[in-house]
């Protein structure tokens, strides 16, 4: 811990806690998951940054989407995202969630993930190196410090539009709205 951070710790302890313990739910959609085992094990050791993998979305506050998103996985991604407690941050890993990547004209792969759930940051590349995850994590720290990682607030605010987009892609959704009051406006 940096000594200069002590002021921040006294001022906003909860925020600093969230920031330095990013517990990750890895969503193993595509080929990107191949980069995750070296990241969490001793070679690159993600725990140096407070990043550890967790079993369920209820324990996580960072959502890492590794690889292309097909229509069927999008459904699971939305459900996972909605189960995570706030504050929650999303990072898209690899070029496929950004704009489809090599699946840009696929019949079954959605192209822009941020049309369906808010995404705080992207790691570009096909595949990105494990170091890129740490760059993203440190970048996310500064974003949390400055209050810029506000994807979950945006989701709450514009849930109506997100839900509409989700229904356009998936048809009728099986689950009830996460924010029913906001949706009525």
């Amino acid at each position: 811990m940096d000594r200069r951070d002590i002021k921040k710790w006294f001022k906003e302890p909860a925020k600093m806690g969230h920031k330095y313990s990013l517990w990750v739910i890895y969503f193993c959609t595509g080929c990107g998951i191949i980069e995750i085992p070296p990241v969490i094990t001793s070679r690159w050791d993600a725990e140096r940054f407070g990043v550890i993998p967790v079993a369920t979305p209820r324990q996580a506050n960072l959502f890492l989407i590794t690889g292309y998103v097909s229509v069927k996985t999008l459904k699971a991604i939305i459900r996972t995202y909605e189960q995570m407690p706030e504050p929650k941050y999303t990072v898209g890993f690899g070029s496929c969630p950004i704009n489809g990547g090599m699946y840009w004209d696929s019949y079954n792969t959605i192209k822009h993930l941020d049309k369906y759930i808010p995404v705080d940051g992207w790691i570009a590349g096909c595949m990105p190196r494990p170091e890129a995850i740490f760059i993203a994590v440190t970048h996310l720290w500064t974003m949390i410090d400055k209050g810029m990682a506000d994807g979950y607030l945006k989701y709450r605010e514009k849930y109506k539009y997100y839900r509409k987009n989700q229904e356009m892609a998936l048809g009728k959704l099986e689950w009830s709205p996460l924010y029913p009051r906001e949706n009525q406006k």
Partner: protein, 182 residues
Amino acid sequence: MTEGGYVGVTASSMIMTNKKLKEELESTFKDIQVIVPEDTRLNITAREEDALTILKFLKDRGFNFLTLISCVDWIKENEFELVYIITSYLQKNDEYTQREKLQIILKTRISRTIPESKTVTPIFSNAEVYERELHELFGIKFEGNQRLIPLFLEREYKIPPFRKDFDTREYVKEVFDKIPFV
């Protein structure tokens, strides 16, 4: 030379089994083409009506495992080509017999305008899933398969998406590109 052992199988003896099977197939079935491209391969091209009996014939010879059913869309010839790949499970753990090294590829062609074929589930019950897949992605109907329900796809498509005349770019423009950014 041990009988049936891995060490004992020489290239020449493999060719002998292939040739023997080839002769047997050619003598029992009409309108059949059998090619031996490699020592461990056997390519059969046959009519669609004969496919079921050939598969039964091969299963009786000990080729008891259907590896997969695949499909090729020959759009210019207006035909689908069904490809059945058949092998045999190992009888003993670390010894191959000559039969178990052989992979058999059976190709039949069906019409593209009326894409229908008979199911092979009575012979190989694991064909059910492959037939479901082909039904979904190519729109081929398999008569007799009771379970041709959707397998992978969530959305509905006018043309089955693996056919050559399905324009993916057009589809993406129509569906995914029209969804606005938030």
